[in-house]
Amino acid sequence: MAKHITTINKGNLQNTLHTGGCGECQASCQSACKTSCTVGNQVCAK
């Protein structure tokens, strides 16, 4: 058990370099004026 650092999330970006890109996820409005999602808020649809 680490004493000084707690990892709250391990991330998955490197893995998705090769597996992602299916495009089935929801569109995301970057201005969020429509609140249909900025990209960081999304969940993978796979």
Binding site: A2, K3, H4, I5, T6, T7, I8, N9, K10, G11, N12, L13, Q14, T16, L17, H18, T19, G20, G21, C22, G23, E24, C25, Q26, A27, S28, C29, Q30, S31, A32, C33, K34, T35, S36, T38, V39, G40, N41, Q42, V43, C44, A45
Partner: protein
Amino acid sequence: MNGLYFVLDVNSGAVHVLDGLAYEAMAVFNGVNDKEVQVALGSKYGEGEIVEVLAELHELKDQGLLFAPEVTTPVTFREKPLVKSLCLHVAHDCNLRCGYCFAGTGDFGHDRSLMPKHVAEQAIDFIIANSGARKNCEVDFFGGEPLLNMETVRHAVSYIRKREAETGKVFKLTLTTNAALLNNSIIEYLNSENISVVLSLDGRREVHDAMRPYADGSGSFDEVVAGAKQLVDSRQGQSYYMRGTFTAHNLDFAADVKAMVDLGFKQLSIEPVIAKEEEYALKEEHLPVLFSEYENLAKYYLDQRAIGQGFEFFHFNLDLSNGPCVAKRLSGCGAGHEYFAVTPDGDLYPCHQFVGRDNYLLGNVSEGIKKSKMTEVFRQAHVLNKSECRECWARFYCSGGCHANADLFNATIDKPYLLGCELQKKRLECALMIQACLTLQKGQE
């Protein structure tokens, strides 16, 4: 923030909470310079604990959770884009005259008009023809105010259902409304067709009415709240978002989110107004107050959860473990290559905010995209190709920000709107703090 220190490892997406010693060590540590860290911290901390911290940092590095290698453009992103989403402007007209409306109070700088049924059909055929093997498609009914043209909305939905059956595609439908015209018949229809709804309310009555009046100048708060409540109750609080806009007139916007909570709404968002010269425009000098306000909102969010009265705030919903892939984080909103807006005449623009900017007219649903070079410009305008974004820690969370805002402020989509960037980063910091607090609380239970 909130008594916690964080590290976000940008290229892996890993998030760590650090104690004070580890935090100070990270200010010096670059993965290979242990001696420098020991010298820098030696006068303040004991040798043993510095060695402990360095061991933990090296372990994270070995696991790929710290100093992960730079992310490059994925192969899948280099393929031809597929159209996945359309914003149908079924009405270039509106029953309100909002002070900050980017759509010129509904007409987008042109005549007030409604989309005919055949244009909606052509738009749906356009998305099906250009979505390739992709199964999930999306249509947002937008305006102006889309409830002013329910005839075309109903016709388009019927046509979508017919085409779904023929093609095997699945359409997710949304409708963005100011809520003032909602009634029993419309609400029943939206529920029966499983249409998600985005509702506009700016929070406190005086804030809302000052910016969102009817054409005669009277406030719309009462009708909006009544309509929104009826809709939300009728669908058991599901499949909606209530979103507001804040301006220089209500820098204390957390009070407006609280007002929405007090009215009984639970799925909320509030967005900074986009304006350049207007007296209500947000300016750099407002940033310290706005940062503090986001922190207030984050604390309120956690407090409400703690007492069982939690609500969703759109920008704080960060799924750290199952977020989007790199390709999605590069394509962002997809404006101009995966996502298009369609005017009542069938004209195609990169997104709803570009409508009316004539140099961005890309084609028409009857003929398809005519400016294919511009769609490629949009596709390549991602964070790894923009100099300001390439170095920014938030690049895989904001995807480079809104192209329409970049164009408005900088006359190019390759240079982001920096005030928006600052606010985005603050929201992300708050979201990370919230995720850390919730994860740590769970660990203690």
